[in-house]
Chain length 153, copies 2
DNA sequence: GCTTTCTTACTCGGATACCTACTGTCCGAGTGGAATAGG
DNA sequence: CCTATTCCACTCGGACAGTAGGTATCCGAGTAAGAAAGC
């Protein structure tokens, strides 16, 4: 999984702590010592997914587009990684010794693809049950205070 | 996830159907129309993981190293992809605005890493509950018959 | 007939090439708040 | 004092380069079964 997921998740928690005022992307990058231009790319992905919204112009920046308890870890992962399953069945069972059978006779998904999909659904279910607000609540309040103070400067 | 996982899983089911006699890797590749040299690499990974064993020499080939009901999908995935978690926490929370805090003060894993790990455990648990024997049993018996006939030639 | 040698069909592992996706940088275009200049 | 202009800080998106890992191929070394040759 790409590093952008970790970045995006931390950024969402931070934006939740900082409230409604838009935060400049460059300052966000400085807060975690990340390459500003590349973090910008991940922020664009969050924006396209509707997780954040951004204000252009002088006092512009990024903020959460909806309350943090309505943003799940799954939302963030999907925004960065895409919605595709990790496992992609390429139907090799239809090739080689079964190349003579018509493709229409393979109506059921193969057991492997089925099991992989079921496992990924479990994974997604767990991520969907974890909200940014929940993660923020499980973090010591000093961290939030410190972040607010740091961004005020 | 790499394509090798699908190949390896299908191969394991096939080896289970074919019984104890070692099967040449090249014939295995032909059965699914896969590049023989590259499938060889995946077979080496299965062997290193102890899932299969191989016999060198003229009548050599590959076979399962243990009964198919003792081989799980998780075993196969780990053999091909490695045991590392998909999500790797790089502790960016310790950088930037928190660079002044000593690393020793971050004793608890961050909530994001914790949630990701829990989700992956769910995924692994599901894959560990799926055996090659179970997958083979859920496949129509004609497929096994056809495979045995094809390999007999 | 028995032993030895040879051939053949395999596996194993390293070296190599290619290509895609992730990582990272740079630049120009657009936008809006704030400062400034002109009336 | 009020309006219009300029400036600046910021976002957005495309173009580009570097790198790691997945995909794929080839070759030489080793091994064992079976055929062939020699005694």
């Amino acid at each position: 999984m790409s590093e952008g997921v970790e970045w995006a998740a931390h950024v969402c928690i931070l934006l939740h702590w900082l409230g409604d005022r838009p935060v400049p992307a460059d300052k966000l990058a400085a807060a975690y010592d990340l390459p500003p231009a590349y973090l910008g790319k991940q922020l664009q992905a969050l924006r396209r997914a509707g997780i954040t919204e951004s204000a252009p112009g002088r006092a512009g920046g990024v903020r959460l587009a909806r309350p943090a308890d309505k943003v799940t870890l799954l939302d963030v992962v999907v925004a960065i990684e895409g919605a595709d399953d990790a496992f992609a069945c390429t139907e090799i069972r239809q090739r080689g010794l079964n190349a003579d059978r018509p493709a229409s006779s393979f109506t059921e998904p193969c057991g492997i693809a089925h099991a992989m999909r079921a496992a990924e659904l479990q994974w997604r279910r767990h991520l969907a049950a974890t909200t940014i607000a929940g993660l923020a609540a499980d973090t010591p309040t000093e961290a939030a205070e410190k972040a607010r103070a740091w961004f005020a400067t």
